[in-house]
Amino acid sequence: MLEKNDKLVIAGREFDSRLMVGTGKYADFPQMVAAIEASGAQIITVAVRRVNITDRNKESLLDHIDLKKYTLLPNTAGCYSAEDAIRTCRLAREAGLSDFVKLEVLGDEKTLFPNNEELLKAAAVLIKEGFTVLPYTSDDPIVCRRLEDLGCAAVMPLGAPIGSGLGIRNPYNLRIILDTVKVPVIVDAGVGTASDAAIAMELGCHGVLMNTGIAGAQDPVAMALAMNLAVRAGRLAFRAGRIPMKLHANASSPLSGLIA
């Protein structure tokens, strides 16, 4: 099979799926479970939040997730400082069963763009403490190289602002990032529809992470399947080696043997 020997490898762990999905913004847990299943994702992100101690009857997310099937990737969403992100990661590791973390340190509420200065600070501390850090960052090749130098297991440049659905706004920067780092490059944020995910993979990216693109769709389960196929199609197309883009035509049918 064409896809068999093409696993995604992150920090020495192998995954068949190159699509990672979030668990937020779904209408209810059954919809979330169905969408994740349709997506084929093996890595799913979760957030770390205070337990509501006055409302103990609330269902828990982990009641609905088969931990044998999925790798949890706790995020540090909502953190605006390295200190908060580091605290959150330590708590996440204690609550969960793995060292994988999606490190986000935000710089601005409107755009949710990363504060790369604080991100680098947090990454340095967390890597020393043995975490496997997957950092959400901007599509800046210099920052990506610095994250790789620190020891991050991947880099996750945004395609567009979180939840914006604008797709891959700067494919040229992503190509430069692919040339700059050796760790996996996973587009995280901004994907709005299937073609966005396919474009990211056709550029040569190693994976795509999304939440709103699926959960916010009118039919999340259908969109999850669309994204599943798009990521696979884009990856196959990338590996198949596309034809070059030419200004003029190049006929597909023979020129000889035409009736006169």
């Binding site: 979030g22 668990t23 937020g24 913004k25 939040r49 101690i53 997310l61 609550a95």
Partner: protein, 65 residues
């Protein structure tokens, strides 16, 4: 005695972290606890007594992107 739990003031009788979680109906396996800004390992829940003025954070995983 007075403690702060998840940012809110509370008055409780002296008890261990494990007992406090049980009192709140929280499954210790599903949460992480930070006591006075330090992660408290799960193994330490039964043997750690809450003291006057302690600040405890109890977190768990929820849906997120």
């Amino acid at each position: 005695m007075n403690i702060t739990i998840n940012g809110e003031a509370a008055t409780i009788d002296p008890l261990s972290v494990q007992e406090y979680l049980e009192q709140l109906g929280i499954d210790p396996r599903r949460v992480a606890v930070e006591l006075n800004r330090e992660i408290l390992p799960k193994g330490a829940y039964p043997g750690t007594a809450l003291k006057e003025g302690d600040s405890i954070e109890i977190v768990h995983f929820v849906g997120g992107g």
